[in-house]
Symmetry: C2
Subunit: 547 residues, 2 copies
């Protein structure tokens, strides 16, 4: 392990500046290529992404080789980083991304002669990148690296930037596709002239080539349905890389290692619940899936049944969101009776989780507020407008209360450790704590000679003794609540991720804001809303295990 | 002082959720009112802002009354918060805002009969709000409040949100005004049909009333020229309120109070410089002012001299930015030879400063990258395109190196305290430190009996002894550098803040992106760029005093 850094922020500053500049360059090219009138083409974007992915792969290989050769490069492991469900999700989404790359390669190969080579290079490079990166994150997500710190920070930030650029490109590509399919289904209305992207889709086949064969059509359809997994893969990888970046050069004191080794035992699913949460959640999940399929069939069919589809869709969402709000609220109320201590330890993974939950909720908040203004100020006040308003208001309430519940859950200490407020709290003089917060994790500081002795075994045993038997009603309730919310979040993720866009089928907002403004709002904010659902699922899984 | 909070983040969460929701509602209405096609009117925005300001005034009065009546509500003062230059700037910009409100009231009064009353109510309420808030921030910017913490957090966040909403409304109003004056001067070209805001400006006079009298014209011109001050006032107040919010419930340990009481003595201006920096800076300032006036006259005159004006403007900016880049770089090189210890203390003011410098630079970065792509990909490669490219590249370099210089400066310890690396660093057992970083501020831990004694007077004397006499060449160089950069940042603030828009006079980007897309990019990003200049000035003033 190298010497302690003089000024950690200085090393971070450099890598953040690199990342910001690369990201802005990518952002400029990607946003430019989304507009037809601008002379930036998708081949430019593909070339940039391919270069970035190749560089990132080279860096990852260099890192893996180096850490194999010097085993003391990683003196500490952060037990909170890269939990098994995050790494499992990464492998799952990574596999789907590989399938998508196969589809894409097949699609572009079917008119190879009139395409530029970069369009086939890009999915192949992406497949290599995804494989290498998934292996890298699986192996080293917990590392606290202590050699070549500046280089490692820059490398991690560059890989993170690459993932974010891939995410942006995928989101923009999907929005353009969505706008095209919207304008082609509404081509007889007045909206199509406002859609600047509608003329673009004809280019995706390139020049005089077109996708006419059945196999080509299937490949194209297939890769658009696999986009959500690619998007989630990039975001999952980004969060794990960010935590690794925060952990570069981190020193874990003996106290925090001791605290982290106290990981909760793997709980067997459903063992300690009342079964109400998972059963109700599964019912909502199945009903939601049915509603989603009915909605998609009715909306893509003839236009006369859109109204009916929207009423079904909104009704289901209102019921689901209402239940989730109530359940989150009751979870927060249960915490008012919970006497477990709050965990004040430094934990980059949790800080990031909280920031992402709050930040990603902004997307759905913004859409909801625009809907509310459109309904309240707009003129036609019919059934659909009322449902839309209720939906928007419940969406805000649900995000707010669910965030409060999850964030409070993540800050609770390990189960069973209750603060003994009855005992007189004497400050533990004579012990040098690396960290003031360490005082809180100790159940109290009884002035027994065993604790004052410098051996650290004392407090560990003390904690072990105070662990109460599991299965308390509060703990079981919280498990039920987290499972119910988890299942609801999955169904609310599936609907928008796989193409349900009531925002455009419903004419309230489109008429009020005009198509282009409303499309800009939805296309910028909805990806964050979708990411919120995915991230809430992983956080709720953690809540389930912790409570 | 109340008891220590169990979970500080919980209290903060509530106030942040309140602020986010209010801010998004304001954002929706303000952005809706900016578009002509959307049925949200500026009276709606004025009504919302007036209500928010009145509520904020009520809360501030309640807070002031309460803190007068219970003097133990504020047990600590954060010496870093609300430095004199920030409070002085607040009063200065607040005074200009009051003048603007007088102009606005006069302007709207001149056609009172055909205006809704809210348009006159709004500037009067704003005047009251600015007066009360300036007094409040002057008196209590340093407070660490320890009573009614949740209420205080919500109140502070609400006031902060009000300031941000006023800022957004002012920025949008100015952009609409700018777009109107652009489209009226280019009304014969093809761009005007792309400007959705161009038809709007006729409404600002309201219905059948119009601003024809000389006094009314002067009032309207006057308040548009005073907008930059109002914008800066809102941002200054926001940063001070944020620091107060971070300081709610903060406990300052004896060590940190001791450290903070060590404030540097007020340095008399120019006493310890080589005079090169201020003289060169003043020269650039005067030349820049002349260039700005020539540019404004030539651009607003007949169109034939626009090309010449742009060449002058870009040439001056390239020279100025190039010099600033070199000077920032040499400042960073000087720090490589500086042996002052890094200051690792927790300091919300500094953390915010760094975040704002990095965040606000993003605005100018984004504009520069869009310019670079437009010049590199676009077809006409003439003199103006070359100047534009050089300007964009230098802008990125200047922001990057200036940020690195300022952030490193802010993290340096007080002058003269050098780490004694030669002495053996023994960990100071026997002393219980509230904070691990306290170890770094002590010059070393010599095992003399005086230091081991529990009296805290020991380390304080030790620090006082190691303060070397001032006026070292490095210190004088740094003072020169900071003054030079300060003056350059002021002139680079004045130009865009008072209406120079080479982004639109120059046709490179407008032709490449189309008017509406480029206007959206510039109008969203430029306010951050302007704020960056203002914030850099206040940070450089701090660097000047500290070095």
């Amino acid at each position: 392990a190298g010497p302690r850094e003089v000024w950690k922020k200085g090393g971070r500053l450099l890598s953040v500046l690199l990342a910001v500049n690369v990201l802005l360059l990518a952002c400029t090219l990607i946003s430019g290529s989304a507009f037809n009138k601008v002379a930036v083409y998708d081949t430019d974007v593909f070339a940039l992404l391919t270069t970035m992915m190749l560089l990132a792969v080279l860096w990852i290989l260099f890192y893996l080789l180096r850490s194999v050769r010097s085993p003391d490069a990683v003196p500490y492991q952060d037990a909170h980083a890269g939990p098994i469900w995050l790494r499992g999700g990464l492998v799952l989404f990574g596999t789907c991304t590989l399938v998508m790359d196969v589809f894409k390669t097949g699609y572009y190969s079917s008119f190879f002669e009139c395409q530029s080579a970069i369009k086939i290079m890009h999915p192949i490079t992406q497949a290599v990148f995804v494989t290498v990166q998934t292996y890298f994150l699986w192996v080293s997500a917990k590392d606290c690296i202590h050699v070549h710190m500046d280089l490692t920070r820059c490398g991690l930030m560059f890989t993170l930037t690459t993932n974010l650029a891939i995410w942006m490109a995928a989101v923009v590509d999907e929005s353009v596709h969505q706008a095209h399919s919207y304008s082609s289904s509404h081509s007889n209305t007045s909206h199509s002239r406002l859609a600047p992207d509608s003329e673009r889709a004809g280019n995706s086949g390139g020049g005089d080539c077109s996708c006419n064969t059945a196999i080509c059509q299937i490949l194209q359809q297939g890769y658009f349905y696999l986009y959500p997994f690619n998007i989630e893969y990039s975001l999952f990888a980004s969060t794990m890389l960010y935590v690794m970046w925060k952990n570069v050069g981190r020193l874990l004191t003996a106290t925090s290692i001791h605290d982290q080794s106290q990981a909760p035992p793997r709980a067997s699913l459903f063992r300690e619940t009342f079964f109400i949460g998972p059963v109700l959640g599964l019912m909502l999940f199945v009903v939601g899936l049915a509603v989603f399929i009915i909605y998609e069939v009715q909306v893509s069919g003839e236009g006369s049944r859109t109204q009916q589809a929207l009423v079904t869709y909104y009704s289901f969402n209102i019921i689901c969101l209402g239940l989730m709000t109530l359940v989150s609220l009751s979870g927060s109320i249960i915490y008012r009776f919970d006497r477990r201590a709050m965990d004040h330890h430094k934990n980059p993974t949790r800080t990031l989780d909280v920031a992402l939950l709050m930040g990603a909720a902004l997307g759905q908040y913004a859409i909801s507020y625009y809907s509310i203004v459109a309904v309240v100020v707009g003129t036609p006040k019919d059934l659909l407008a009322g449902l839309d308003l209720a939906h928007a208001l419940l969406m805000i309430a649900q995000h707010t209360f669910q965030n409060m519940f999850i964030i409070e859950s993540l800050h609770r200490g390990p189960p069973g450790v209750e603060p003994h407020d009855a005992l007189p709290k004497e400050p533990c003089h004579g012990l040098t704590f690396a960290n003031l917060d360490a005082l809180h994790t100790l159940p109290s500081c009884p002035p027994t000679p065993r604790l004052v002795s410098p051996s650290s075994a004392g407090p560990r045993e003390e904690v072990a003794i105070t662990v109460t038997p599991r299965g308390h009603w509060r703990s079981r309730c919280l498990k039920d609540i987290s499972l119910f919310l988890l299942l609801c979040n999955i169904i609310l993720w599936i609907m928008p991720a796989f193409g349900a866009r009531p925002h455009f089928s419903n004419t309230v907002e489109v008429d009020f804001y005009g198509y282009s403004l409303w499309a800009a709002i939805v296309n910028i904010c909805l990806p964050f809303g979708i990411f919120y659902r995915m991230h809430a699922v992983s956080s709720l899984l953690e809540v389930y295990v912790l409570s």
